[in-house]
């Protein structure tokens, strides 16, 4: 964001070409207002009504009162936040370790980058189906490998057991995003100024000290960006859960997005009001958590080098 200030200050100090400005902004803003801003406001409006196909009744805060007592919703919130907190940590730390390990010469870089990026390129639907097969109790590679290694007692229907279903899905998203994070971190590492690293080398730093005191602070911005990106992504997750477990078993993998969809389109009612309430409350929660996160991570001093 700071970079654009320099550009803006320059042009057209004399008269503002309003015609041009409007012409350039109008298409984008029209679509934005029509398909993003207005729907968001309407969802809020829905949340105060019972929204049926032929009529809408104003019911004030009744939906919100029901929501406060809805233990399925709060379970979904817990699941989603848990997911959004653990996933980034795993994805970024594993990616960092791998990036460091591969910081040295990587032969065939282009091939590897394509290979590591493949999970991210696939639709969550495709990934979900693949992992449904991988986790299959009878013939999925996970259980087959376990039985081959004599660990037969550890096999279980990973996506069918309430205790392992959510961790299993978190593992899947980590599998997807570690490659992406690693490529970004590698680029970041390669862009570090050589002089600083060489200076640390000359100072006879140990490997560990070099990591903690030199490298980490330099890539801190990238790490934090990746964490925030991953956090936001997990708060929105829907496709993966929908194609694998749909929130089962026993709401162990129920996320807010699947719950909203179910309340809006799958319960034996046509009322859209309650689902809108869930969406509105969730929006506030997401906003609050992301703002907290970015505030906590803001750079306090610029690194001088």
């Amino acid at each position: 964001m700071p970079s654009s200030q320099a550009g803006v200050a320059h042009d057209d100090g004399l008269r503002k070409p309003w015609g041009t400005i409007v012409a350039f902004l109008l298409p984008a803003l029209t679509l934005y207002v029509g398909f993003t801003a207005y729907p968001a406001i309407r969802t809020l409006w829905n949340s105060f009504h019972r929204v049926l196909p032929r009529r809408e009744e104003f019911i004030g805060l009744a939906n919100y009162a029901d929501l406060a007592r809805d233990d399925i919703f709060w379970r979904a919130v817990r699941n989603t936040i848990l997911w959004a907190c653990t996933s980034p940590l795993i994805e970024v730390s594993v990616a960092l370790l791998l990036a460091l390990a591969l910081y040295a010469k990587v032969p065939g870089a282009r091939f590897f980058r394509v290979a590591w990026f493949t999970p991210v390129l696939m639709s969550y639907i495709v990934v979900g189906i693949l992992w449904l097969w991988i986790y299959n109790n009878d013939w999925g590679p996970v259980n087959v490998a376990m039985r081959a290694l004599g660990l037969g007692a550890w096999t279980r229907p990973w996506l069918g057991d309430p205790k392992t279903a959510l961790p299993a899905l978190i593992f899947v998203t980590s599998w997807m995003w570690v490659g992406f994070n690693m490529v970004v971190l590698l680029a970041a590492l390669h862009s570090l100024p050589k002089e600083v690293l060489e200076a640390a080398e000359l100072d006879n730093c140990g490997w560990g000290a070099k990591l903690v005191f030199v490298i980490l602070p330099l890539v801190r911005a990238t790490l934090l960006n990746l964490i925030v990106l991953s956090f936001i992504g997990k708060m929105k997750i829907f496709d993966l859960v929908w194609i694998t477990t749909k929130g089962n078993p026993l709401w162990a993998t129920e996320t807010v997005s699947t719950y909203v969809y179910k309340r809006a389109f799958e319960w034996t009612t046509f009322d859209l009001g309650y689902a809108s309430t869930v969406a509105a409350v969730w929006f506030v929660i997401v906003l609050a958590t992301v703002l907290t996160l970015t505030w906590a991570f803001r750079q306090r001093e610029k690194l001088e080098y």
């Binding site: 196909p53 032929r54 229907p157 078993p249 026993l250 389109f265 319960w267 034996t268």
Partner: protein
Amino acid sequence: MRPRNLLLFVAASVTAACFANTASAQQVKELTFWSHWAAEVPKRTFVEEAIRQFEAKNPGIKIKQTWYEKTALYAGLKTALRANQAPDIFYAEPDQAEYMENGFLLDLSALNWAAVEPWAKEAWTYQGKPYGLPLEAWTVELYFNKKTMADLGVSVPESLQFSPDAFSDMIKKAKAKNITPMALGVGDRPYPGAHVVHEALLKKLGVADYAALLAGKLSWSDPRVLDTLKWVKGLTEAGLLPATFTTLKLAEAHGYFHTNPGALTFLNGSWYTSRAFNPVDKGGQPVDFPLGIMQFPAVPGAVCNECRSIAIGGSYVANASTKHAKEVTAFFNSFLSPEMGNRWLDVVKVQTGIKSDPSKMTDKQAADYFAMIAKTNAGAKYHFGIPIQVMSGKPKEVFTQVFNNAFPAGNISVEDAVKQMAAAY
């Protein structure tokens, strides 16, 4: 021709052409028709043939059919109805009260209800008016492999109902030979797992108290309920169900029972035939499969061991905003005759809500099958509807999650299950 004659001739031709067009436009009315059973060959054959016969008798009406798998159909309907893009006729089951509550269904009072069983009409009656054509009726049956049963040295009693001890013994014997006692899977349906629990509860409590329990009027902490749940838990802990229970799909569960790896019993609706009597390469049971049917075992301390659930299954309903109400009614009426009822029994081999006569069956496989069904249903007392058809809202959701999925899979204790249910009402 002189100009004036030419003009007249052109005018006459054009007018004639216009009339010809409207006449032909009036001739063919197209009804849109969405149905489940895309993969259930007997039912689909029956309905397609009924449509063909109807179109032959009524040349001005064409029915455009689209066949779906159930979950996709329900999802599509939910949004299409709201968006006013729903078809004229579609498949529905009586538990979908929301259709009637929101006025989406056409009132079918004008149908020939004399040809329909009164309890079938009752299932579709909302505020005094009937809204659905009750084609399929089904009971929960316990299928078993006669040969495997004999090989295990277990003999099924004359009454076709095991005592609780005999049933547990059967489970033990099956487990000893590494055979899954009961095939069952809840991977893609919200009701199969619950069959064990609700049939047991129904027998223990009797029809009246069972209905009260589902409606929230009888407490789930009632000692009889707790006893029954503990008994079922004993069965599941003894290894009644497959390890893949939670992810096994309905069609796969059929295959699990009759083909691979083969189970001893299979608790399913009597529409088992819709998939099992398909040709083998379409998922049907092997030729000459030794199919037997018995009753759900007696429950310890039960008040009504002859009680069982009967439900109206696949039915057809009409869109309230259809522009062809007369044609739709005529189409539905074409189903309401004893001949059609018997034809359903012959082809589909599942019970029906249409009044029919099982003794008039012409197909041997159907006759044999219904003879078995008649035996297990002899002297039965019925409760109409399975739990998810009579419950709605939060209790229905919790019941499904707890008693269809978690409880049979052994993932929740009796106390927790009861607590969840109590909190749901």
